[in-house]
Structures are given as structure tokens and as C-alpha cells.
Amino acid sequence: MNQPIWYALIATALFCIGLAGLVINRHLLRRILAINVMSTGVFLMFVALAGRTGALPDPVPLAMVLTGLVVSVSATALALVLIVRIQHLHGCVEFPEDDA
């Protein structure tokens, strides 16, 4: 089993761990962290793809990862601002039972 495949397997595992964390946890900070674990899994997958072409890594997936990182940082920042507001509003960092 060669190295890129190893990384791809680890990436899949990270994606699944993040997905499980997102579903299981109720605390919103943990959910945001879980999404970040998922995105790390996806980015690792792209890096593994870049490495599979041989000696020189393929630059295109790496460029995509950079774009993805920027998106991920902005999304995390927005999510953190929102959960601070939720805490002010509801006094806890969870979804209220009925927000419809």
C-alpha cells in the first residue's frame, strides 16, 4: 500500500469522525470543531491526490486546498460570531428546542 492511499484512508477516517461529531454533539462549539475536522479530512484527501502523480506534486489540488482553507476560516469565524450571539440570547451554546 503506497503513501497517498494511506493518506486518503486517513482523510476518509477524519471525514467520518467529523461527521459523527457533528451529529452526536449538542454543544455548538463542538459542532463547529467537528465541521473543521471534516474539512481537514477533505483537504487531506486533496493533498493525497496531489501526491499520487509521482515525484513532483500536482499543484492544482494544492491550489484548491488553499481556496478551501480561506473559505473554511471565514465560515468558522462567522459561526463563532453567531454562537456568541446565541449565548447572549439564550444563555447556553446549544440550539433552543424549538426555533421554528
Binding site: L22, V42, M64, V71, S74, R85, I86, A100
Partner: protein, 491 residues
């Protein structure tokens, strides 16, 4: 050609000005909205002449650079965006002016214009993009701007957070699928992908991941749970944009992918499965809309139901004649739902604004005090029910036709049932609203522009049915399905 770049750059520039110079935000927003309508119409005229347009950003050709592409489908969605965008921008003049006098809502008017213009730029970029990775970037831009817009309403912050988490989850699935496609083909350009797609396990995996991510963003039953709170609690112009445009953007991405790269992969079983979910969405969304206590919640659940109709395209797309009829039908339904739902949400916002609440059972007196708004509700509901001669009628009629031509009559049953249920929840609202009440005048009279913009969008939904010849011809340009050939009665 240059319209394509301007359609993306103009609102982005406007967003920048609106953010840096809040004093000029409103005039910037309205100017951009009018220019956008002009640009979209001029692009549509160019394409109507029969050619599709391609532009490589900064002169770098795909696969290295970013390709922009416009055909009839792109032009129609750009026109939808600019018409809904102009109507909503005009409505926002009145809506956020009222908010500014209210100390609780001081910040929302400042946030609205820059965020909305940024969202507009992202929507146009999504419609014009020709590259699966760029779709991801534009979907994320749309998602982030939309979440921030929902959060303008202080009590909607939990709904906005849920919306954000769901959107990010959908994007992760989508992006993982893009990674697989790149691993298989070494490109993310959709044209190149369509040419080289082979039915193989990894390709099916990519299709499943990307479709699942987009279904989550389109809020197809049972992944719709995030939509009603977000759409019902956002400020009225934001609800209108979310239901009319943002959900359609994810659906547009699905259409592009399933007609392009995934076409050779599309198995009958997958189409049927998505169709069943669509049918369940129609039934479940309509039942919930009928039982919802608040008007905006009724409208939001009605969006869940109407989105179900769009997914009935997937089981019908398989056969050639029915597939092309269904394609025209589904695009028509998406366009007319966008116009009607935007009008309906704006009108619901006016009612909420005037009476301070939107409980369906306490709507008595709306007909007396807000006749124009109620007229808008009635016309928009007629298009959503699919009454002739509205755009919703044309779309549903084409889809029904496709269901009979392909011999899958059971989808027709669901469509008719959905139409009856749409009539039920619409008339429940109208019945209460038409009752007279010996009451005082409403607390705040909505600004006339708020009432007329809602009515104008609702009327556009009906005009889409009356004047459907040219837009249908526009849709044929660059379409991968055959031209619209309606057959005789089914055998």
C-alpha cells in the same frame, strides 16, 4: 461578452461601496439593481440570437483558468435573479427605512445592502461558472452571505446558525465529490468532465457525494428541516431572496451537473429515488404549510413543497421525448416559483410589518387595510397552485405532460394532489385575510413601494405564463435536450 464579467463584478463593486460608504448604500444598491436588469436582458438578447457565450477570466483558458459560460438556461436564471433582485431591492428601501427608526434594528439596515450585493455577485458567478470547483466556491459565498443576512434579524440567530452548519455540511460532501472527479479525470471543467465520464464505482461515488451535498442545500425532504426556521424568521426581503434565488442556485448546480458530467452515469434507480423524495416533499411540505400557525411559516413550508416538484424532473429525465418536455417544465416551474414566492414573502413581510404579527387566524382586516398586498398574495398563490394562465401552470402542465408521455402516471397523481393541497393552504390564508374586522388602522402603514414591489413580482409570475414563447425559445439555445415537441395525447 463583457456583460458576463460585469454581471459578477458590478454587484461586488456595489457591495464594497455600500460597505465603505453606508450613507450611499441605498442609492448604490438601487443603481446596481437597475444596471443588473439591463445587463441580464442584454445578455439574454445576445443569446436569443442563437449563440452561447464563453469567456476565459483574465485570458487564461480552462483547465488552468476559470471559464465563464452562458447559454439559454444561464440567461433565464440571470434574468430571474435581476428581476427578483430589483423588486426586492425596491422593497428593501421601505422595509429597512422603517427599521432604522426602530432602535432595536439599528444594525440591520447597515448590513443589508453590502451583504445582499455580495450575495448577488455570488449568485451570478454561480450561474455563469463552468467548473465544478468554482461551483463549490460560489456556493460557499452564497451560503455565507445568506447566513449573515438571516442573522440580521436578532431572534433568527439560532436559525441562521443551523443554516450555516447545514450549508457547510453540504459543501463538505460536495467538495469531497469534486476531489474524486479530479482524481479520475485530472480536470474540474464541466465540459471536459462530460466528455470523459465513464460509468465506474469512483464516478458513482463522486456523483452520490455531490448530489447529496446539493440536496442538503436545496432542502429536499427529508433534508429540509433547516429551511422553515431560517426562511420564516429572516427579514422579509431576505426571505424572498432565500426562497426565490438561493435555493434555486443549488438546484441550478444540480441541473448543470446531471445534464453535463453525470448524464452518462444517471441510473434509472437514482432518478426514481430522488423522485420519491420529491413526491414526499410535496405531500409533507403542503401538510405542514396547511397546519403552520404563522403566515411566513406557511410560505416557507410551501417552498419545501414546491421544491419537491423540481425534483420530479429526475425520474422523467430518462426517456428522450419526455425528458425534454420535463426539462422545459422544471425550468419553468423554478422560474415562476422564484417570482411568485418572492412576491409572496414580500407581501407576508408587509402584513407582518403592518399588524405586528402574522398569525394566520388573526389576519382579519388585512383585506380592508392592505388591499394591494392582499392582491399580491392572491396572484402569487394562483401561480403556486398552478392556475392558468400563470407561469406555474405552464411548468406543471409540461411536467404532467412528461409524466404521461413517459408512462409514469403516478408522478402526475402526486402533482395534481400537490396542486389541490396548495389550493387548500392558500385559501386558508386568503379566507382569514378577507374577513372584515371593525378595527383600528394598522400600526405601521407599509411604504407604497413595499406593496407595489410585492405586487409587481407576483404579476411577473403570471406574465411568465402569458408571454412564454420567447423565453422558451431562449431556453433552447445551447440546451443538451431536444427542442420542445409536445406530442399528442398519451396512449
Amino acid at each position: 461578452m463583457s456583460q458576463m464579467a460585469a454581471l459578477v463584478l458590478m454587484p461586488l463593486f456595489g457591495a464594497f461601496i455600500a460597505f465603505v460608504l453606508p450613507r450611499y448604500a441605498r442609492i448604490t444598491g438601487i443603481t446596481v439593481a437597475f444596471i443588473q436588469l439591463g445587463l441580464a436582458l442584454s445578455l439574454a438578447t445576445t443569446i436569443y440570437a442563437g449563440e452561447t457565450l464563453r469567456l476565459s477570466a483574465a485570458g487564461w483558458d480552462p483547465p488552468l483558468g476559470i471559464g465563464l459560460y452562458a447559454d439559454g438556461l444561464t440567461a433565464l436564471f440571470l434574468c430571474l435573479t435581476s428581476v427578483v433582485g430589483l423588486g426586492t431591492s425596491l422593497h428593501a428601501i421601505g422595509y429597512f427605512k422603517f427599521d432604522r427608526n426602530d432602535s432595536n434594528h439599528n444594525t440591520s439596515a447597515h448590513g443589508w445592502w453590502p451583504l445582499w450585493l455580495a450575495l448577488w455577485a455570488a449568485l451570478n458567478a454561480l450561474f455563469l461558472t463552468e467548473d465544478a470547483f468554482n461551483l463549490y466556491v460560489t456556493l460557499e459565498l452564497i451560503g455565507l452571505a445568506a447566513v449573515a443576512l438571516v442573522a440580521l434579524e436578532a431572534h433568527a440567530v439560532a436559525a441562521a446558525t443551523r443554516y450555516l452548519l447545514v450549508g457547510l455540511l453540504g459543501s463538505m460532501f460536495y467538495l469531497l465529490g469534486v476531489g474524486l472527479l479530479y482524481a479520475l479525470h485530472g480536470t474540474v471543467d464541466m465540459k471536459a468532465l462530460s466528455a470523459g465520464m465513464q460509468p465506474e464505482p469512483a464516478a458513482w461515488m463522486a456523483m452520490a457525494l455531490m448530489t447529496a451535498g446539493l440536496l442538503l442545500k436545496t432542502a429536499l425532504f427529508p433534508l429540509h428541516f433547516w429551511l422553515p426556521p431560517a426562511h420564516a424568521n429572516a427579514p422579509a426581503p431576505v426571505s424572498a431572496i432565500l426562497s426565490a434565488l438561493v435555493v434555486k442556485a443549488a438546484f441550478y448546480a444540480l441541473l448543470r451537473l446531471w445534464l453535463g458530467p453525470f448524464e452518462p452515469l444517471a441510473a434509472d434507480l437514482a432518478g426514481q429515488l430522488i423522485g420519491i423524495l420529491g413526491a414526499a416533499a410535496i405531500i409533507w411540505g403542503s401538510v405542514q404549510a396547511f397546519m403552520a400557525p404563522r403566515l411566513k411559516l406557511v410560505v416557507a413550508y410551501s417552498t419545501v413543497a414546491q421544491i419537491g416538484y423540481l425534483f420530479l424532473w429526475f425520474p422523467l429525465a430518462g426517456s428522450s421525448i419526455a425528458g425534454s418536455i420535463a426539462w422545459y417544465g422544471v425550468v419553468w416551474l423554478a422560474l415562476s416559483h422564484g417570482l411568485a414566492k418572492a412576491g409572496l414573502f414580500l407581501a407576508a413581510g408587509n402584513i407582518l410589518h403592518a399588524s405586528g404579527h402574522d398569525r394566520v387566524t388573526d389576519l382579519a382586516g388585512v383585506g380592508q387595510h392592505l388591499p394591494i398586498t392582499l392582491f399580491a398574495v392572491g396572484i402569487a398563490c394562483a401561480s403556486i397552485m398552478g392556475l392558468p394562465p400563470s407561469g406555474g401552470f405552464v411548468g406543471k402542465w409540461l411536467l404532467l405532460n412528461a409524466a404521461f408521455v413517459s408512462g409514469q402516471w403516478w408522478w402526475a397523481v402526486v402533482m395534481l394532489l400537490g396542486g389541490i393541497m396548495a389550493a387548500a393552504y392558500s385559501f386558508r390564508v386568503l379566507l382569514h385575510a378577507f374577513r372584515n374586522k371593525e378595527s383600528q388602522l394598522p400600526q405601521h402603514r407599509p411604504h407604497p413601494v413595499m406593496e407595489w414591489s410585492a405586487l409587481a413580482l407576483a404579476v411577473c409570475a403570471v406574465l411568465l405564463g402569458i408571454l412564454s414563447a420567447q423565453p422558451l425559445a431562449l431556453l433552447e439555445v445551447g440546451a443538451s435536450v431536444g427542442e420542445l415537441a409536445l406530442t399528442e395525447a398519451p396512449k
